[in-house]
Structure formats: C-alpha cells, structure tokens
Symmetry: C2
Subunit: 305 residues, 2 copies
C-alpha cells in the first residue's frame, strides 16, 4: 500500500563540526518520503516556491515519489538555518524563513484520498487535523510534532493525539507536553489520549516504544562517523511507516521490526549531509544493517544458575 | 568463584526530588558487594571509621560478604553529600568528607589473595595498581574510575587500563579521557590500551559494550519510579562480575548475559534509597526482570520483502 505524507520540503543551511552545507535539500516530508520509498510508493503533499530546482523534483520522482501533491506557490521555498555542536544531539536554529510555508493549506489530490497509511510530519496541528479530515480512507495514521506547537497550540495537538494511531515524538517533547520528568509516566499520559503506539525518539540513544502493555527499546546504531543528524527523525519515521505499509503487519512483532527498519534508515542518513547518503543507499545495505542491529542487541535467554 | 572488590564503604546524605536520606549506607564497594552477593561469594576490601554501625556490618555478613578485609581505622567513615534534580542523570556533589579514606592503603588478607575475579571500584588509580600487584591470582580484572582521576592522574589511569581485562566507565568519562566526542572512536582508543572488554554506562539509556569486533547495546529498564540513582553503576558492576564469577563464562555470549544481569540489578537498586531495595530483593525477582529485558529488546529477524 502507498503512504501519504504531509510535511515540509525545504532548503537547509547548516553547520556541523565536520563541515557546512548551504541551501541543500531538506524538509520533513523530503526525508520521510525518500526513506519510505525504499519500502513502498509515496504520495507527497507539501509546498515549494518558485526557486525550487527541477533537479530536486527529478530526484523525488526517481524514488517513485508522487509529486502530484507538491504545490508550487509564488515566492521562496521554506529555508531553515541551523548549527550543531560536537554532541550533535540538538540543533541550534539560527534562522527560520517560512516563506511559502506561511500560507500553506494542504489539499489532497483526488488520487491521494485513497491512501490507507498517513504520516503527518511536523506541521501546525490544525493543518494535521485538516489533513486527517481529507484523508478519509487512512486506516493507520502517525504523527510527529515539535516543541513550538506544544507550547503554542497544546489543545490542537491534543486533538491530533486523540485521533492518530501512532505518535512519534522525541523525549524532550514527551516530557514537555505531559509535564512529567519520568518517561514511563509521560508515555502513559500520552497513551491515555487514545494513541495505540507511542514511539519516543532519544537521538543517539535510540527509541522506546509503548504499545498496550508491550514496551520495546531499540538502540541507535553506534556509528564512527556522524556527519549531520538533520532529518534523522523523519528518516526513521519513513523507514518505520514504509515497512508497515509494505507488509500491512501492525502486530506488536511487526511494529518492532518496523522500528528496526526505521533505525536502520536513520543510521544511514546521518552519515552525510542532506540526503546524500540516501541517494547512494541500496536495499542490500539496508538488509545488512538490519542484521547488524540483530547482533547488536542479541543475548541468550535466562540461564539456570 | 569468589570475587574480590576494593572500593569505598561510606555514608551518603542525599536529596532527590522524591525525598531526603541522611547518612545512609553507601559506597562503591557496598553496592558492588551486595549486588554480586546474589551470584557468588564476595571478599570486601575497604576502610571505615569508628562511627560505622554494627548493624551495617551485620547486613554485609548476612549477604555472605567476607568482611575480613574491612579495615576499621580511628576517625570517621567517608561521607558523601549530594543532590539530584528531576532528570536524575547527574549527581551534584555538595560535600565530600574523605575522613579515614584519605589514608587508606588497601591490604589484602591472606585468604583473599587467591581470588580469581577482581573488581577495582572507583578509587585512586595508584591504589588500583597496588591492589593488582597484591592480587596475584586474579585472572579477570575489571575497573571503574571517575572524572576526578581522569583529570588529576591520567597517567596512572592509563597504566590501570593497560593491565585490566574489562573497563566499566560512563560515557562522559570515556569522552573526557580520550578527548573524543564520538563514542565509537573513544571506545577504540580505550581498547587500544589492551582492554579486552569496554562497557560504557549511559545512565537511563543503558550500556554499550565493545569486545573485539563485537558491539552490544543494552537498554536500561524503563521504570515508573526512579527514586535514587546513587550506586546504580556499582550495582551494575556487581551483577555483571557476580554472574561472570558464578559461571566462569567470559565468552561474548556470557559477557552479554552478564550485562543483562548487571542491568537488572541496577534497575532494582534505583527503586529506593540506599540499599533498601536490595535488602528486600529475591532471586526469583531477578529472574523475572531478566525475562522482561528479553521481551523489552526482542524483535524478529530480517523479513523478506
């Protein structure tokens, strides 16, 4: 089954201790779509300006991502400028130019309305609600968000959480939204809104998943070269949702495997700037790293002493 | 086989967001010994002052910990005062009263010299070297350290690392000692000293183990109540070394299981102040939580898409 994603397509300018990149391809929907495209077809809904290069459109097309929903508006493409220190865990935003994103009102093309898998990347929760009401056939909906919406639109965000099946947020956001320092308690509060599966992203420490009474902890892949963490969360979500859409297996076991695929994709993405690593990535490499995750986490059962 | 541990027996006074404890039993060797005692006999080497209560001595004895090496010196017992904020990841030291610890020169009782398993808890690396030269039959030696020794005695610490089989340190210390932000690179530098197995503790995020070409990531157990993280690292080391001494299995598989036992023991210890939780803990509870760790980390192998 195809996946529908609504989010941003952007230019990123960033500095890490390992180099600089100026106005390179970025955005939550871009990272998500590219990652998910290794597993299934993707229908993209986003907005770009007149300055968005044909080359990037061609790249998306080359990944079998439908760009029928990629709206082009007069003006400039959303541009984010950020900086990372040595720990690479948190980006410092230097400049945010919303540009055409300021007036974005997602409109699903007729063909997209059939999508059964929907990912609401980090955008205004009111727009996330609007997209959900348009995507009438979505049977599995996941969302992301960010600190900005938690503080500015907590009620809208709560409405989103009441309607999605899966929430994928980072641990600082989980604590901020619930006002709970303890992550297990924070998770319970979020699940209480009706979310079936909560995935808490912890950067270089991996993810924690809460799904009914099931709890799953997956590490991040320990890498010797982490170049640029931009887009890691969306790349994770793309691998995760892409795998679910490919198999339709939303059992606890299926969700755990999907989390590993998400972690695999994210681990590749951070190895280079922008989507450079994803452009070269092959599916056999994905499979090889999945096997590495297995050996990274495996231990024998309880011994008798 | 029995384990020999050299470290501190102390009084801790601490504040967490959940309460206060004044002059309660603590110290690296205390936590280590108590945890290891669930798996094997322990020979304890440490120093206390005249104020150390008989009740605590009786507790150690009740856990089959040999206190022949627990030296009693004129003066007061080592006393640490600290404080934790809501994140519970890092203690803020308020006061350190070394007292009798200032003049501690470990002397192994004759019977202890036969121990084949040795844990050098966090003490002056020069004392760690001295203990290694006394423990002539130790065939598996592990050490801990802290930021204070990394900055004040880096050369002595390097000599320790050149002689131990296993180093168990936290991630901030690994970065500080190697001057490497990337943890995989930091691990390689430490292993280059001749350490066979490096375990990097990451607090609530679990541990990473590097052992030749094998890398293992174990999560910490997600707990709804974390009361007091004091001693978690030493309790981890106690379960880890205790299991190895019990089984003698130092293969990669054995070390991975030992890490899970260490993680299990640490997860119980943080549930209450001081050693209160350990005093009530039973081995069936340990086994049950080991099984929970298995379900916490398990996922199916690579699917064919």
């Amino acid at each position: 089954m195809s996946i529908l994603v609504v989010g941003t397509v952007a230019f990123d300018s960033l500095e890490t201790p390992f180099g600089k990149a100026d106005a390179v391809l970025g955005g939550s929907a871009t990272y998500f779509s590219t990652s998910a495209s290794f597993f299934t077809d993707v229908n993209l809904v986003a907005v770009v300006g007149e300055d968005f290069p044909e080359e990037s459109v061609e790249f998306l097309k080359s990944r079998n991502i439908s760009i029928e929903g990629l709206e082009r508006m007069p003006g400039k493409t959303f541009h984010w400028k950020g900086k990372y220190g040595y720990d690479l865990n948190e980006a410092q935003t230097l400049e945010t130019h919303l540009n055409v994103l300021a007036d974005f009102r997602p409109q699903l093309p007729a063909g997209y309305a059939e999508s059964e898998y929907l990912f609401l990347a980090n955008i205004d929760p009111d727009l996330q609600l609007e997209v959900m009401s348009q995507a009438k056939n979505a049977r599995l909906v996941a969302c992301d968000t960010m600190n900005f919406w938690i503080s500015s639109k907590p009620d809208s965000l709560t409405k989103v959480l009441q309607r999605v099946d899966i929430a994928i947020i980072n641990e600082g956001e989980a604590r901020q939204y619930t006002q709970e320092a303890n992550l297990v308690k924070a998770a319970k509060k979020i699940l209480a809104h009706g979310v079936n599966t909560l995935i808490i992203k912890r950067g270089e420490y991996g993810v924690l998943m809460f799904n009914g009474s099931s709890v799953f902890a997956a590490p991040a892949y320990p890498l010797e070269q982490v170049f640029d963490p931009t887009g890691a969360g969306d790349t994770f979500a793309g691998g995760f949702m892409g795998y679910l859409a490919n198999t339709g297996d939303t059992s606890d076991a299926g969700i755990r495997q999907a989390i590993i695929f998400g972690s695999v994709m994210a681990s590749f993405n951070v190895e280079d700037f922008s989507l450079e690593r994803m452009k070269k990535l092959t599916y056999p490499e994905v499979e090889e790293r999945f096997r590495h995750f297995k050996s990274l986490t495996h231990f024998e059962g309880l011994p008798v002493l």
